[in-house]
Structure formats: C-alpha cells, structure tokens
C-alpha cells in the first residue's frame, strides 16, 4: 500500500475507483493536403461542427434548470461555433490553400480571438477566451477524441486530474463524483471552493497524482488526514468504511446546529459571520449575522484587465443583495509580489510578504485604490457596506487610507452620486505592530478584524508558504493567545466591534479559546458554521474564560492544544 499526501481542502472520506481526467490539449501544425480532396476535408470540418453543436446543445439542456447562468456560457459558445464568418474563413482556407481542417480551424479562430482581444471594451476582449474554448472543442472532435468532461460519468468515481478548470467543474456530475484529487491548487483555489460548497471530499496539491494512479485503481481518499491510500488492504478498507459511517453520522449531528441561534451553554449570544470571495449566491448567507470578510481579489485576479469601477460596483451590489440585509465587510485589494496581476507589472521582491503589498500597494497606485473605493461607496447606497483595509501596520497607514476615503466621498458628492455617508471604516489586524497598539487603533477606526493566519506569520517570523518550517507556524502559541487577548480587550473596552475572520475562528480548539479571550464575532466559510456552533454550545462562558486564562499561562503550543482538546473530548464523548 502506497500513501500520497496532499492538502485536504474539503473534509470527508471517499472509497472508490480512480477516474483520470485529462483536459484536451490542442497540438496543431501548419499542414496541407493534396489537390482533389477539398470536398472531403470541408465535409470533415462541417461534420465536426455538427458534432460540436450537438455536444453544446446537450450541455445547455442539462444545465438550464439548475444553473441558467452557466448554461448561457454554452449558448454563447454555440453562436460562435455557428458564426458564418468562421465557416467562410475555414472554407476559404480549405478550398484556396488546401489547408488541413485542424490547421484552418486553429488559424481562423485564433485570428478572430486576437481581433476581439484588441477591442477597447474589456468585456468584449474577455470574449476571446470563449473563442479559444470553442476552437478546442472543434479541434478535439476533428482529432476523433470523445468529449471528456465530468458530466456523463457511468459510475461513482474519484476524479484525479492535474487541475480542474471552471468549465470542468461547471459541468461536473455531482452525484457521481465521490471525491476530487488534483496535483495543483490550494485552499482558496476554484476547485477548493467548489468542492467545499458541494461537500465533495477533496485533496489538492498531490504531486504526480495523474502519473501514479490509473483509471479503475481502487483507492481510499482520506480528506480528513490529508492522504490517499493506493491499493489498500482489506482491513484498511474495512476500517475506512467504519470511519465513513462515523463521519456521516457526525456530519448529520453537526448539521442540526446549522440554523440554530449561536449560544454558549450558559446562554450568551455571539455572532457568526460569513467569509466570501465571489458574487455567487450561497446557502451560508442564511445562517449568519454578518459577512465578516468579502475578499475582492477575484475581480482582479480573474480578469485580463484592471476591473472598471462599473464592474466592481455591480459585483459589490450583487454581494449586498446576496447578503439579505446582513452587513458586508469589503476588504480592499490584498495582493503583492507573490500574487501578480497579468495587466500590472509589479517588481519582483525578495520578501513579498514584507513588501509592497495590500494597502501599501494601493496607496502607491492611487487610481486603482480610488476606483475600488468609489465602487464600494456607490454600492453602499444599496445595503449596509463596511470597508476594511488589509496590511495596516501603523496609525499613519490608517490616517492615509482614511484621507483617501474622505477625498473619494467628496468627489462623489460633487458628482451627485449616492453613498452611505456614515459608512464604517475598519482595519485588518495582522501585523503585530498594530496589534500592540490596538487601544490607539481603536480610537481611529469603527471596527477591526483579526487575520489570524497572517498575524501568526508575522508574529512568529514564519513564511507560511514555506513547507520546511511549518512546525514554527503556531496559530495557538502562548504569544498568539496573549496578543489576541490584548486586541480583544482593547476593542471591547473602546466599545468598537472586533471580529476574527482567519482560520482560527473556525477551528474547534481555536473557537473555544477565542471565546474565552473575549471574542464574540466569528467569521468563517459556510462549511464550518454548524461545527463551530456545536462546539461552542458545549461550553459555558465561565468555562471558556478559565480555559483561556490557563492556556495563556502555558509554555508551549503543544501543551495548550492537548489541554483544550481534552476539554472538548470530555464534553463530546
């Protein structure tokens, strides 16, 4: 039995057969045929188009009911496929130049895609991707390869792929896919977010998965511990079947807590918030009191150009509508040297995490920053919006950012555009230098939210992307607990809301400790809401306070983890 390791991004267990998924890769060369075969090759092209049309029609039909928005993508693909200019262009190349159909298709579509890309309007330029998608479909059919998507699976499988594209996941048969394993992708990748929302166990970052596994291999996917067991022995299979039953039972018990009011055992009410990173409506909005973190990076990373004010405005408005009256905390752009934008040249930095990133970068690119603030402020006329700045290290940073907000508000007023005049402005606390003066920061802002992942990284001087030093990355070290305790009590004393939107808020042990340290606002992904509500329902306020106090005085993280874990087990087993 061989064991592969990976990053479990969607919890669960799956036992089953491997299905290797390879997206089609076009490999076209300039090539011609001999005279006399024009009709034959043109017919070949027309047949391929007919097949492609059928494929697209099937996808549209199967998706129309469940996700009409996604079906529209494929309707647009059909229009492109049937475009008479495409037909004429390919026909001309076949009859006049005797170009092989695949070469002709590649040339014509690529020409048109380049033409669209040159359009001044970014929305039109983005359509070039659709042309390339249709080109690939036709080329694949010409090559005689079957449509390989995840829509028509014959049996239950565990999908193994290098990576999954949005178009793959859009068409995926959720009833047949028991698990997902990919070679690349992290906790915030598209695949991670999607599998979590579908509750499909998934393990990403499994090196060489596609080469090591074969179609039909029996495997166990343990997306709790983060491993894949190849060719498992009978006893192992039996053990995992039992684990699966237990996991399902636990999930069911936990899910009963989903729509319960968040209360601890002694009756104190706290708030649960939702972290979101796109404009898709999701169930999570129903079970929360606020949106504690709305990441806006998707608008910038998923685009071929700097997103316009109007596009951002529409997206922010959409999230406010999704939130059903709950306040939405919009975090301004949080990128830097490690995450680059295709359309923006950023200098390579030796230490991107200590570099010109997030708020620092925005203050350096005032046009970009103002555009986002204008969009956010305009959206604030349509629901309760709050604006939050990431990567704040000093009071100077807060004042600089607030000055830009004031300037933008003035502009909007002159232009007669509506916005919420009393909009709340807050900060992320993730740099220790601002955490240490939380009492002073609280005087300058309306609220704050702690990013526990980055706070750990900066407090412990540990690059969290570096796998060789993970043991130094301690989110619940005594130093972390003491820092958090000070931050919470400073903000609570000032009467300003403080929340945690980092991973610690949705960790079993973390949630208990945070509550004991004085936190009452926990923001997390939808998948964690029920579990956190359940864990906190097991403790009284007094108990959590005692636990937190003891933990703060322990010497090592290991001691703290062991101690709190035992307290949880006392109440669950």
């Amino acid at each position: 039995m061989r064991i592969l390791k990976g990053n479990p991004v969607s919890r669960g267990i799956a036992l089953g057969k491997v299905y290797i998924y390879r997206a089609f890769k076009a490999d076209v060369h300039e090539s011609y045929f001999e005279a006399g075969k024009e009709d034959e090759y043109y017919k070949k092209f027309k047949d391929a188009v007919a097949t492609a049309e059928k494929e697209l029609a099937t996808i549209v039909t199967s998706m129309s009911a469940e996700s009409p928005e996604k079906a529209k993508i494929f309707t647009a693909h059909t229009e492109i496929l049937m475009d008479e200019e495409v037909d004429e262009g390919v026909k001309e190349m076949i009859y006049e130049s005797r170009a092989m159909p695949d070469y002709a298709v590649d040339e014509i579509f690529t020409d048109f895609a380049n033409l669209l890309e040159k359009a001044k309007d970014p929305l039109i330029a983005a359509r070039a991707a659709d042309l390339r998608d249709v080109r690939n479909r036709v080329l694949r059919i010409l090559k005689g390869e079957k449509e390989s998507n995840l829509a028509n699976l014959r049996e239950n499988v565990i999908v193994v792929a290098h990576d999954l594209l949005p178009s793959d996941t859009a068409t995926m048969d959720r009833n047949r896919v028991m698990g997902v394993i990919t070679e690349i992708g992290g906790a915030t990748s598209h695949t991670a977010i999607l599998t979590r929302s579908y509750k499909i166990p998934s393990l990403l970052g499994v090196t060489d998965a596609v080469q090591i596994m074969k179609n039909g291999d029996n495997i166990v996917l343990d997306a709790l511990a983060g491993k894949v067991l190849l060719d498992p022995e009978k006893e192992v299979i039996k053990e995992y079947q039992e684990k699966l039953v237990e996991f399902i039972k636990e999930e069911r018990e936990t899910s009963e807590y989903l729509d319960k009011i968040p209360l601890v055992a002694s009756g104190e009410r706290y708030s649960i918030g939702l972290n979101v990173g796109d404009t898709e409506p999701e169930d999570g909005y129903k079970y929360v009191d606020f949106v504690g973190l709305f990441r806006t990076e998707f608008l910038y990373m998923g685009s071929e150009y700097m997103p316009t004010e109007q596009e951002q405005f529409e997206a922010y408005k959409k999230v406010l509508a999704n939130a059903m009256g709950n306040p939405v905390t919009l975090r301004t752009l949080d990128i830097g040297g490690d995450k680059t934008l295709r359309y923006m040249a950023l200098p390579k930095e030796d230490n991107p995490f200590l570099g010109n990133r997030a708020l620092r970068l925005c203050l350096d690119h005032m046009e970009m920053f103002k555009t986002q603030l204008r969009a956010a402020l305009r959206a604030s006329a349509f629901g309760e919006m709050k604006i939050m700045f990431p990567m704040v290290g000093t009071i100077d940073d807060i004042r600089a950012a607030n000055a830009v907000v004031a300037a933008v508000k003035k502009e909007l007023k002159i232009e007669g555009l509506a916005f919420d005049e009393k909009i709340n402005i807050g900060i992320m606390i993730e740099i220790p230098s601002i955490g240490l003066i939380a009492d002073l920061a609280a005087k300058e802002v309306d609220f704050a939210s702690v990013g526990t992942n980055d706070l750990t990284q900066y407090l412990h001087a540990v690059d969290r992307m570096n796998p060789s030093i993970t043991k130094y990355y301690q989110t619940m070290s005594p130093a972390m607990l003491r820092s958090l305790g000070k931050i919470f009590s400073d903000f609570n004393k000032a009467g300003k809301p403080i929340s945690v939107c980092g991973e610690l808020a949705s960790d079993d042990i973390g949630a208990v400790l945070l509550f004991g340290l004085g936190l009452r606002k926990f923001s997390m992904n939808a998948a964690n809401i029920a579990r956190v509500k359940r864990i906190l329902s097991l403790f009284t306020l007094e108990e959590t306070e005692e636990i937190a106090k003891k933990a703060q005085n322990m010497s090592t993280e290991a001691e703290i983890l062991e101690f709190v874990k035992a307290e949880i087990e006392k109440r669950t087993i």
Partner: protein, 92 residues
C-alpha cells in the same frame, strides 16, 4: 441597397445579449446585412450575421452606426433592425 443611420441607445451597447439578438434577427433575412460605425473613417462595414464581427466593432452606447442591406428583403431587414436598436433591446 437600402440603409439607415441611428445610434446605440441602450446602456450596454452591442455586446452580450443585445448583440446576440441583433445577429439572430439579421440572420432571418436573405439580404446581405452590414453595420458600419460612423465615428471612425477607417471603419469597414461588418457582417451583421456574424456575432464575432459585430462584437469586434466594439459598439457602445452613443456610437453612431449605419445599418445597410442589399438583397431581396433589404428594406424590411434594415427597418426591423433599426426598430430593434430604437427599442433599446428592452433595456430601460
């Protein structure tokens, strides 16, 4: 040959849904139908039955255009497409 000038009045211009509607309507006529933007001397008439060519024109709100048709149903084609543009494609 029959033609008429107008300008785009709907906010989103001629892309996405309005472009699709415009092209599907053009396809219902036998005549050759073209659209040419009038604010650019160098602009060539674009095949109105091709979604790709229409998109590539980058026609946004306020762009003056000429709709032209040549063929047996040229007048009807131009009038119908003209009406569609005037109706703002149902946008308010």
């Amino acid at each position: 040959m029959y033609s008429k000038n107008t300008e785009l009045k709907n906010v989103s211009g001629l892309h996405a849904r309005p472009a699709s509607e415009f092209v599907s309507m053009a396809k219902t006529f036998e005549s050759k139908v073209t659209v040419r933007r009038l604010d650019d001397e160098a602009a060539q008439p674009a095949n109105a039955k091709s979604i790709i060519k229409i998109l590539a024109q980058g026609l946004s709100v306020g762009t003056p255009i000429e709709i032209a048709a040549d063929g047996p149903d040229e007048q009807e084609a131009v009038e119908k497409l003209f009406e569609l543009v005037e109706s703002k494609f149902g946008e308010d």
